[in-house]
């Protein structure tokens, strides 16, 4: 397939039906991975020697935190692409990803607080990891609010894209915060450079849950993107066809 045929999908008109066909598969995969992950997480994975049953929060907390950072990078990528090339679909994708990213960041902070109270002894501390993740949540909310506040969609996209790109600086800070500074949050268990310091079944459950979160995020973002496409292109012929 040559390059030009791929570019065809960069137009909302041809991406709309493609996304519609893909979405049910992503929902199905999300459910399958989620059920498998939760089963392993609750019934197969052993109790942790230090934390007892409380450690099982990682099956939600870690995938949510990973997704919150990764979605931000993807969102900033699309926003930047839209800013540089002026492609309509890129800005729509960025807009579609933001609420899911915000949800993941909120979930990460919330589950972390629930776990932190019994384990650390505090719901919240202003350590570098927690604070930078909170900033990430505010960046998502700021992006959503900024886009919603500007009526002209093209200007809204530009303003949002600049905010999204500026915020990218925060993502490596979140990731490396536990390495660079003294934090209460523990260091990372999963590393690219060495074997994970975690029992096999725990790791399996966590990775399955991470896959489930991936699939959910893609499904939710594509569903939202379709709605945005219809809304923004409501005056065009193809939308009239698609709605009929």
């Amino acid at each position: 397939m040559n390059l030009m045929q791929w570019f065809r999908f960069a137009s909302p008109q041809s991406f709309y039906p493609l996304a519609g066909r893909m979405i049910p598969w992503f929902w199905a995969l999300a459910a399958a991975f989620g059920l498998a992950g939760l089963y392993i997480g609750f019934f197969v994975a052993p109790t942790d020697a230090q934390q007892g049953e409380g450690y099982r929060i990682i099956f939600i907390h870690v995938p949510a935190s990973w997704m919150s950072m990764f979605i931000y990078l993807v969102m900033a990528f699309w926003a930047g692409l839209g800013l540089a090339l002026g492609t309509r679909l890129s800005a729509m994708m960025a807009q579609a990803l933001a609420p899911t990213g915000a949800l993941m960041a909120a979930l990460s902070l919330w589950t972390g607080a629930l776990w932190g109270k019994p384990m650390w002894g505090a719901w919240w501390v202003w350590d570098a990891r927690l604070t930078s993740e909170l900033i990430l949540l505010f960046l998502y909310i700021g992006f959503i609010a900024l886009q919603a506040a500007i009526d002209d969609p093209r200007r809204a996209d530009k303003a949002g894209a600049i905010l999204a790109l500026v915020g990218v600086v925060n993502v490596p800070i979140i990731y490396f915060s536990v390495k660079w500074w003294n934090t209460l949050h523990q260091g990372s268990t999963i590393n690219l450079t060495r074997a994970p310091s975690m029992a096999q079944t725990m790791l399996l459950g966590m990775l399955l849950m991470a896959l489930a979160f991936w699939m959910y995020s893609i499904a939710a973002a594509l569903t939202r993107a379709r709605a945005i496409m219809l809304e923004r292109e409501r005056h065009t012929e193809w939308v009239k066809h698609a709605v009929d």
Binding site: P46, D48, G86, M198
Partner: protein, 147 residues
């Protein structure tokens, strides 16, 4: 240069300068971002005088003494020790030999009167049987060394 290329260059340049700015800001804030200081730093006089601060380290094995709601223990970074007195409920993960972050003020005798004790745990997750096996192996090794 096409306008599109110009925009890409502007965005790349903007991101690069932003990154450099962030690095400088973080470098300047370095000591303020840290949640706690080490016992060595406290002994060296780096702790703020008359103000609450946090010390982080390991709970020295065998140093925990409980009297009712009051607990005495020693926080160490294996080089220097700080004795701590705390009245209140300790978190689940507070244990001998494990990490802890203690907030409080220095008393006249150089000990820390804590207002809050947080447990800092490590990034290792393992079932109790594996932990037991590791402990036994370590004990056997240590026993072999002393013989």
């Amino acid at each position: 240069m096409k306008p599109r290329h110009k925009r890409i260059a502007l965005i790349a340049g903007g991101l690069a300068s932003l990154g450099v700015a962030a690095v400088f800001v973080l470098k300047a804030l370095d000591s303020n971002i840290a949640l706690y200081i080490t016992p060595s730093a406290v002994i060296a006089g780096e702790a703020p005088q008359g103000k609450a601060f946090r010390v982080g380290g390991l709970v020295k094995p065998g140093s925990v003494e409980r009297r009712g709601m009051t607990t005495h223990f020693i926080v160490t970074d294996t080089v220097k020790d700080i004795p701590v007195t705390y009245t209140g409920i300790l978190p689940d993960l507070f244990r001998d030999g494990k990490g802890a972050v203690v907030q409080g003020r220095l008393g006249a005798d150089g000990s820390l009167i804590a207002s809050e004790v947080l447990a800092k745990h490590d990034e290792n997750y393992m079932p109790p049987e594996a932990k037991h096996a590791i402990d036994q192996a370590q004990r056997a090794q240590n026993g072999g060394v002393t013989k």
